[in-house]
């Protein structure tokens, strides 16, 4: 049997009366990429910190590689690469100097690792540039290179792609896939729902609880009770307003020249078209489409 790279077992954290994380349980297996989603303040970072042994849980247990984090020493930490939301880079040091510093901190003796890490993240051209002068996308890549320097078997990345453009984001994910193919496990929080589609499994935190955890494609079926539709009509903004108070509709939003709508349970696309036509809207057209992870997220978050 495979030993999970990380296991959260009913992890709970209370701050006074406030329960930041409430009985969160999941396994993260080697080679698996788990996306961790949730609104700000829903307990994502607190969960990560408990998992890493940086914060003591009020109840429950965190395990890394089959061993309780609480008992873990330096050798456990050696197997984990952590990238926090505020990346720990020294602005006045160059990219290469920052990595050399990481190497020292993690006891990496092989001096070739710094050059190798720069190459792996395509950072060689900026090796001599001060971290403070790097655009945000490059900074984040440098921070990831730092987290990878000591060859960890588990990556914990807290919003690693915040403020990073789609092109750099893809380069970022290519690297994470390459590592996962080598058996590295990754736990990644993100606000980009299209990124969550890249993950093998996705967990959604709402108010401290892990409300759902599954493969993206399965979440779309289990978490949504109604169908997803794209809706066109002559007066699109007026139509949107009408749908806002329509019992047939769970949620409606603007999507360019048309609307993206989640129906109430049991309502079909024909029902909606007839309803809109009865309300006097003209040139109404609607088709059923594949729901997005944003639809899932907003449904679970209760808007």
């Amino acid at each position: 049997m495979t030993v999970p790279a990380a296991r959260a077992d009913r992890l709970t954290k209370r701050f006074g009366d406030f329960t930041a994380v409430d009985r969160v349980s999941f396994d993260l297996n080697p080679g698996e990429i788990l996306g961790y989603l949730g609104p700000n303040g829903s307990g994502k970072t607190t969960t990560l910190r408990m998992l890493l042994g940086l914060l003591r849980p009020t109840a429950g247990e965190a395990e890394l590689f089959g061993r309780p984090v609480a008992a873990g020493g330096d050798d456990l930490r050696q197997q984990v690469g952590y990238m926090s939301q505020r990346s720990a880079l020294y602005d006045e040091l160059t990219a290469a100097e920052n990595l050399a510093f990481y190497a020292l901190a993690y006891g990496v003796r092989d001096t070739r690792r710094v050059r190798q890490a720069l190459d792996e993240m395509d950072l060689a051209p900026v090796a001599g540039v001060r971290a403070g002068d790097l655009p945000s996308g490059w900074r984040q890549r440098l921070a990831l290179a730092g987290a990878l320097l000591h060859g960890p078997r588990l990556l914990v990345l807290d919003e690693p792609t915040s403020g990073v453009d789609p092109l750099s984001r893809r380069a970022f994910w290519d690297r994470i896939y390459a590592l996962a193919a080598d058996g590295v496990a990754a736990l990644v929080t993100t606000h980009y729902l299209e990124e969550a589609e890249y993950c093998h499994r996705v967990g959604i935190m709402i108010d401290g609880s892990l409300r759902a955890i599954d493969e993206p494609a399965r979440l779309k079926h289990s978490a949504l009770t109604g169908e997803a539709w794209d809706v066109w009509a002559e007066l699109v903004l007026e139509t949107l307003e009408a749908l806002g108070s329509e019992p047939m509709v769970a949620r409606a939003g603007l999507a360019g020249d048309h609307l993206h709508v989640i129906g109430a349970p049991g309502v079909g696309v024909g029902d909606l078209v007839r309803r809109l036509e009865a309300l006097g809207f003209r040139a109404v057209r609607a088709e059923r489409v594949e729901p997005t992870l944003e639809d899932v997220f907003l449904a679970l978050a209760g808007t």
Partner: protein, 313 residues
């Protein structure tokens, strides 16, 4: 005349040509997204239109007023939310709005009514006396929007207004923008979120200071219609195996439990058939292949595939 008109705008910073021959217009009640990699010129374009940065050449107008030559009058018609939060953290929400109302020349008692109306509009009426620095990220962005709207502008320029904001807060921010569209405000917004660009009427795509392409999201996706294939099911190695060295495939990308392929125009059926044939030959009956509609992210990578990113140095 369009509410926002950029006509051959150009701006360099030293040797760097941040924006080159940029022309774009936005109508009343229309929302246009500015997309592009970091350093593509999005912020420069917005700053030139807002009149906070002077163009080397070209012309910009808002509501028919030249932002350089009729700066004061133009500024009265536009609201601008810069990328970095620019309100005072140690002032309350209302104090910030009062300060801006003063700057905007909203004299006397008028500011209070207007400020409270704007706080209600963005849903922060309960937070008027809270210091800006004590608001959450999403609430701060809403306050910045309220501040930009204090003088009832007809044009709104937003520079990545939802960066780092969670999906729930982004959703409610976009609902506000939709309401402004109903009031015939023209909106130009830069964003790193492609799902947000999907919600705009049109998308303008910048790269290395140049406008590469503009159109509705559907128009931008059209060149990739019938060219995106998804392979799912089976083990990851098997998915790679059945798509290895396929003729006609321009790009192959892993997406979690699926592989996404971009295929040369006109070759999609041939490629689908070949993948299915290989899957059968290898006994990988659980591998499925299908044609999928292109996303704006596919478009983004397709547009940039021709030229690699410039090196930062």
């Amino acid at each position: 005349m369009s509410a926002i008109v950029a006509s051959h705008l150009a701006r360099a910073f030293g040797p760097t040509r941040a924006l080159v021959d940029f022309s774009l217009s936005v109508e009343r009640g229309e929302m246009v997204a500015l997309l592009g990699p970091d350093g593509a010129g999005k912020s420069t374009a917005l700053r030139l239109l807002a009149g906070v940065l002077r163009a080397d050449s070209g012309r910009a107008t808002v509501d028919g007023l030249d932002v350089a030559r009729q700066a004061e009058a133009a500024r009265a018609r536009l609201g601008y939310v810069p990328q970095r939060f620019s309100l005072y953290g140690d002032l309350t929400a209302l104090e910030n709005l009062r300060f801006l109302a003063d700057v905007r020349g909203l004299a006397g008692v008028a500011w209070r009514e207007r400020a409270e109306a704007m706080l209600r509009f963005v849903g922060l009426e309960a937070f008027g006396h809270r210091r800006a620095q004590a608001l959450s990220g999403g609430m701060r962005q809403k306050l910045a929007l309220a501040a930009a709207l204090i003088h009832q502008p007809r044009v709104l320029l937003l520079d990545e207004p939802t960066g780092g904001v969670d999906p729930l807060a982004r959703q409610s921010f976009w609902k506000l923008l939709t309401r402004l569209l109903r009031q015939e405000v023209a909106i130009l917004v830069s964003t790193p979120y492609l799902d947000e660009a999907e919600r705009c009427h049109r998308v303008a795509f910048l790269h290395r200071g140049r406008l590469l392409v503009q159109g509705t999201p559907d128009e931008l996706r059209r060149p990739l219609a019938d060219r995106m294939i998804e392979v799912r099911g089976g083990a990851p190695d098997r998915r790679l195996e059945v798509t290895q060295d396929l003729g006609g495939v321009e790009e192959r990308q892993i997406f979690g439990a699926t592989l996404r392929l971009r295929v040369a125009a006109g070759r999609v059926h041939e490629v689908v058939a070949e993948v299915a044939r290989r899957a059968a030959a290898y006994g990988a009956t659980d591998v499925a292949v299908r044609l999928v509609p292109p996303s704006l992210e596919d478009v983004f990578h397709y547009l940039l595939a021709a030229e690699p990113l410039p090196r930062a140095a």
